[in-house]
């Protein structure tokens, strides 16, 4: 039943660019590669220890993987799965973001209260910035001028001037900030707080708070509704927010900041990414060890794909 419903929605979608979703499996030391056409795992490649953050270079010729317990960012050839080399990353790299210049990786060093900036070409550390305790969420503005680190125990978004590699502002958010994204052409910053159970929306111009999004899943205690990763649709009018152990994705109207829908997915949903035309969303579900595929238009879960143990990060690359 589910399969045929899915086939229909797939058929209706505009012919998508063939592509892959790469998923890091935190407790298997592997990445699973899912075909966005067949929705099956087509490759599994070994990585360093405890892979978490994952992102591609601009031309998709390289995939960067935070191997947290190997204290390295690994650079892999996505066509072969071969690890080309490691980048110096500082200790315990958890998440990172690639600057629009396609060279500088901003890396959160979770154990060290540091953000490390690495040049992927020279393979050298160009700056280390002291931030709050347990840095995690990383974002960079579309114009590349601002990088953000969120610190989980300090409960702040730290604003980094990418020219000077220095902090120019620190803004408090609710407990355990996990993920940050710039939206609306870089005029807004969204930060999710896992234990606080909220997303705070900032005006980037003056770092003031514009609004706050709360979540309420029927039948789930508010304490278990824990926003973590989130992504926006192509028109940026809608955000999909992973709510951790509540096992739901919230669909948020990015203009009114109201929650419009909740979608049941796998257990402990953490991060996500879209396919090429953003018609499908792939969520990593740590505890159930699978990836849920959501049809974006109908806001329904259409398939679960078994991957490795504790899937954490997800990143898309086109293959045509």
């Amino acid at each position: 039943m589910i399969r045929s419903a899915f086939a229909l929605s797939c058929f209706m979608a505009s012919p998508a660019v063939a592509g892959e979703i790469w998923v890091t499996n935190e407790k298997d030391d592997t990445v699973s590669v899912i075909s966005t056409e067949t929705l099956e795992v087509i490759q599994t490649y070994p990585t360093g220890e405890r892979p978490r953050g994952i992102t591609f270079s601009k031309d998709f010729s390289r995939v960067y993987i935070c191997a947290s317990d190997s204290d390295a960012v690994q650079v892999m050839d996505p066509n072969t799965g071969e690890i080309l080399h490691d980048l110096p990353s500082g200790e315990d790299p958890e998440q990172f973001v690639l600057h629009p210049n396609d060279r500088h990786l901003y890396i959160a060093n979770e154990d060290d209260a540091i953000t490390t900036v690495v040049d992927t070409e020279t393979r050298k550390v160009i700056a280390q910035i002291d931030v709050g305790v347990e840095p995690e969420g990383m974002a960079v503005s579309p114009d590349g001028a601002i990088a953000i680190t969120t610190s989980e125990t300090t409960n702040m978004a730290h604003w980094i001037d990418t020219e000077t590699q220095e902090l120019f502002a620190n803004t408090l958010v609710d407990s355990r900030p996990r993920h940050a994204e710039f939206v609306a052409g870089g005029t807004q910053l969204w930060v999710s707080s896992e234990i606080g159970g909220t997303i705070t929306v900032f005006d980037v111009a003056d770092q003031s708070e514009i609004g706050k999004i709360g979540f309420e899943v029927q039948g789930v205690h508010p304490d278990r509704v824990q926003p973590v990763g989130f992504e926006f649709t192509a028109d940026e009018k809608t955000a999909f927010v992973a709510l951790g152990p509540s096992n739901h994705i919230a669909v948020v109207n990015a203009e009114t900041l109201e929650v419009e829908d909740y979608i049941l997915v796998g257990r402990r949903v953490w991060h996500m990414d879209f396919n090429g035309d953003k018609s499908q969303l792939f969520t990593t579900n740590g505890v159930s060890g699978d990836v849920t595929v959501i049809d974006v238009a109908s806001r329904t879960a259409v398939k679960s794909i078994k991957v490795g143990r504790f899937p954490w990060g997800a990143a898309y690359r086109p293959t045509e």
Partner: protein
Amino acid sequence: MGKDLAYSVIAGLMIAAAAQAEVALHVGYLSVYEDLPPTLSNLDPEPDDIGIAGAMTGLEDNSTTGRFLGHSYTLTTAILEEGDDHLAAAAALLGETPFVIIDAPAGDLLAIADLPQAADALLFNAAADDVPLRDDACRVNILHTMPSVAMRTDALAQVFLKRRWDDLVMIAGTHPQDTAYADAMRRSLTKFGLELAAEKTWAFDADMRRAAAQEVPLFTQDFGDYDVMVIADELQDFGRYVLYNTWEPRPVAGSEGLTAVTWSPVIEQWGAAQLQSRFEDQHARDMTGQDYAAWAAMRSLGEAVTRTDAADVDTLRAYILSDAFELAGFKGRPLTYRDWNGQLRQPIALAHPRALVAQAPLEGFLHQTNELDTLGLDRPESNCEAFE
């Protein structure tokens, strides 16, 4: 104060920043000597810095956050030795700061809280798990970051009920701590509709390291069949020799075997791995429940300073007890304080030495306001009036 009294001042990370800090919080840590009876095994020596180590990790966490806000934190510790006058030491410390984290037996804690110097203080009980401190002996100037023994026995009772292990027997030691644990366990079992089929008192004086294999099977034979054996042995004296020596092959829980604990090195979920590794890097050992309670006290103060931009007792106490307060305590839920007796609400780990088995409150144990209040004295059960 005795001559052995160790007295030291530990500044936060950011001594340089302190000069320009707009808000400075000075915290005291007082450890009162407790004379405990010897135990059969020497396997688990207690670390010298138990508790303080947690406070120091909390201090560092606070200081790292504070430097972005112009807040500075310092810690003064007073570690008392046998024979030291704890009331004089407490009065001296309270002369320096009204914020004191205390590791002391219940009686000493109450005497300190009743000092005139403590009248307007904010004390944190980071060690005593006695139920009366959260009940009719509560004090308005004490908050409790250490869970009560009732919170721990309620956690175990939830496991027994959920697993349908309802045929229970208990062996209790004779130390006051064992008796208090056994009382709390009986109360918890009644609360969750369970009961003990039989009880025995441990009153051996043989050295069980040699005699356990002979004595324990015989001692447990007349229990007949049962589901779980509960051990009340809070000083970790004899319980370890009961495991695998019972007449019936049944699991052991309570003070030994499956234990309900404040914290354990086996907790790695909910971001706990970070706190564990931070602690281990700083102190070269595992974090204990007492370290966790002291860390939580220090972090509660830090969180309140961060959010209120103040460092006076009235503002911080009001904020900590308000709905706005929440502490991210690496237990998967926000931690808050019960405004009827000052107890920090927190999940309780059910663990054996190698893994976390479950975390209470277990799924299905519901509560009209907060599931965490299924653990320990709930508002209607507590006779604490000081907070009204």
